[in-house]
């Protein structure tokens, strides 16, 4: 499994993701510059957090025009694994690879804190190492992470089981008090219908070693790395 980590001008979580992939998981790592027009044989492409192109106009609005995004779109169409974290989730929505949009937090505050997430899908390449309905502890850091979609889109997401992570309390209850940003249905992460494009606001790369206060994020990286092995064996 070779991970590609896309670097846009203004990306800031690329090295954190790279560290986890290279130093903690021990998988192959390739940084991909936003002007690159090929994905260099990567099996999973990560769009990390940050403020790509300064988040001018809207978060992710300009990044979607980067040359590398054309390749990412085609890669996703072929079934390749694409993983948008924080700003990466915003970019995937702007690019139309995931439905909905991420708007200003209801509190108007930039929220940088630990959250609990209920894992609602464990059959995915990204979550296979999690137990069903497991509660994982993952930090957020964003000002515009409030998930919005039209009612028809939202009910389609729910019917298809496309909500992967929901903000919950430590006991796994999905309650308004556990929602840090006003996301509809407490949504913290969604997957496309095919199951190969994941977008999530929380940062698993910031909690993949115990030294950082928690290592639940590592389960997601290990799931993807393990998925590569499974594909190889099949």
């Amino acid at each position: 499994m070779k991970f590609g980590v896309v670097v846009f001008p203004g990306t800031w979580s690329d090295r954190d993701c790279g560290w986890v992939i290279d130093q903690v998981v021990g998988a192959k790592l390739q940084y991909l510059w936003h002007k690159d027009a090929d994905l260099k044989g990567c099996d999973c492409v990560i769009l990390p957090g940050g403020f790509a192109y300064g988040d001018y106009l809207r978060t992710g609005a300009i990044a979607r025009f980067a040359p590398v995004m054309q390749e990412v779109g085609e890669f996703a169409d072929r079934g390749g694994l694409v993983w948008g974290i924080c700003n990466g989730f915003q970019i995937l929505c702007e690019a139309g690879l995931l439905p909905g949009a991420l708007i200003r937090n209801a509190s108007l505050e930039y929220r940088c804190e630990w959250t609990h997430l209920s894992v609602e899908r464990t059959d995915l390449a990204f979550t296979s190492q999690c137990a069903e309905r497991e509660v994982i502890r993952v930090p957020i850091g964003h000002g515009e992470g409030s998930y919005f979609a039209e009612p028809a889109v939202l009910s389609r997401l729910e019917q298809n089981g496309q909500v992967v992570f929901r903000y919950c309390d430590a006991g796994g209850r999905v309650v308004p008090g556990a929602n840090p940003n006003g996301s509809l249905h407490n949504i913290a992460g969604i997957i496309n219908k095919r199951g190969n494009v994941l977008g999530m606001m929380p940062h698993p790369e910031r909690c993949s070693e115990p030294e950082l206060g928690g290592a639940d994020g590592l389960k997601l990286f290990r799931s993807v790395a393990g998925h590569g092995l499974k594909v190889l064996m099949s």
Binding site: R58, A101, R104, E150
Partner: protein, 87 residues
């Protein structure tokens, strides 16, 4: 060719929660503007360009709004196009 300036206004859709608007409304109420019923905070974008005609200019600006200037999921837009007279 004519020179035009397009003035584009982008606003959050009525169904989208606008915490900025709510906060500004509260601020206005604190200042005594209690008649304010609703505030929506949006964006103003000015585009200067050349076009064959006013009709073409409007079509081009409409396409710009649909493809980039506004996100149709969360935002509405409207615009005016004015011809700029060279001196």
């Amino acid at each position: 060719m004519i020179r035009v300036v397009a003035r584009v206004i982008v606003t959050p859709k009525p169904v989208v929660n606008d915490p900025q608007g709510i906060t500004v409304k509260q601020g206005l109420a604190t200042l005594g503007f209690r008649e304010v019923e609703d505030v929506r905070v949006g964006k103003y974008i000015e585009v200067s360009m050349e076009a064959e005609s006013m009709h073409e200019a409007r079509e081009r600006v409409e396409a710009m709004c649909r493809q980039l200037l506004a996100n149709h999921i969360i935002e509405d837009f409207h615009f005016e196009v004015d011809q700029v007279v060279r001196r």
